[in-house]
Symmetry: C2
Subunit: 220 residues, 2 copies
């Protein structure tokens, strides 16, 4: 059991899954759901669901289940989706552009406000209406704008220096797609997206699928 | 505790982290490491490390630690990295191209052999030397080639039908990047990459970072 202010990473990582699922239930017109039903739909036990949700305050009533919209709104607050974030992307190669295309980020309050790239051919062009600025103007931009999330999509050799500039410029969190370990001060939250890890998990399942079929589960 | 043939998803998802870390230790010339050191370096407790690794057979000796190369090779076998995989990518937009650019997949035996896209302007062109074939030739390709992993990078509205064609054509595992839930038979391993989930976890950490700083952890 984690203390209330120190929720385990495993629980945190299940929150988006709950959130997305409640969102789609709400869209389908479902207003109430039991922990047993919710568990069955997303591949967890009812008691796991109840325990996870209890971490974040009492919800649902024995025998009545959860109010879908209420729980979704509550989780949105816990996930910090009720505030809106100023996001910038450094490096607009394929990964950077893919991120720019995720409409669902925008819908959830993550607003990409500026793009940076080292490639002069891109400077002055716009992607999805956002101008691409030279990478060496990043510091100047940060001195004028309060940025919540810096997305690093540079080649690996520029990732650490980009992180350093972002942190020095007051960026509050880092989302790193460069396939390299980067260091930031402990108070700056960082998520590394390692596509390799996802592929290795799939490889594991494939290698073991003939012995014992694993359930198909959500992976990040 | 999971039975030996039914390792928990949480442990499976830590394996790539161990594997990548051992790989980089080996490159730096480290030959032996204790569970305490390994734990400190990747943010887990020594006992968690020992427990995870024990799931896959006895390794290391009390007081002597692990032989880095041996453990790495052992994990490579468990992850199925000792066999080589025939991979195809359906949809070569930004995400598809980003995957194509991951040299580390190739180095680990994941060989992208064919690309498919619905866009006629791309047909006959080559990306990283691999020709882009029309999406409607996918079935014919599958009737002639044994494909291990099908990577779905299509727009969401084509994801399910692509999965159906892949499964009917004998593809053994699916890696889905389309932001939509798709169904495959239970014996087919599938990994969904939900970038949204990673961003929501980051948002959570950001929202809570002023109350209690969470450690920066590896996320998929």
């Amino acid at each position: 059991m984690a203390a209330n202010n120190r929720i385990s990473e495993v629980v945190i990582r299940r929150l988006p899954l709950y959130y997305r699922h409640l969102e789609s239930l709400e869209k389908s017109g479902v207003t109430r759901i039991s922990s047993a039903e919710l568990g069955e739909q997303i591949g967890l036990t009812a008691s796991q669901i109840r325990q996870d949700i209890n971490f974040f305050g009492a919800f649902g009533q024995q025998g009545y289940g959860y109010n879908v919209r209420e729980l979704k709104t509550h989780l949105a607050g816990i996930l910090g989706l009720d505030r809106g974030y100023h996001m910038i992307v450094v490096g607009v190669g394929n990964i950077g552009r893919a991120i720019l295309n995720y409409q669902s980020f925008y819908d959830r309050g993550f607003r990409i406000q500026a793009l940076f790239d080292a490639n002069p051919a891109l400077h002055g062009t716009r992607l999805r209406g956002i101008p691409v600025a030279p990478a060496d103007t990043l510091e100047a931009y940060l001195s004028k704008h309060a940025v919540d999330i810096g997305v690093i999509c540079t080649p690996r050799e520029f990732a650490q220096q980009t992180a350093d500039i972002l942190v020095a410029g007051g960026v509050r969190a880092i989302w790193n797609f460069a396939p390299v370990q980067i260091s930031v001060p402990p108070q700056i939250p960082i998520n590394h997206v390692h596509l390799t890890d996802s592929l290795l998990v799939l490889s594991y399942k494939l290698a073991h699928s003939e012995q014992a079929a694993l359930p198909s589960e959500e992976d990040f």
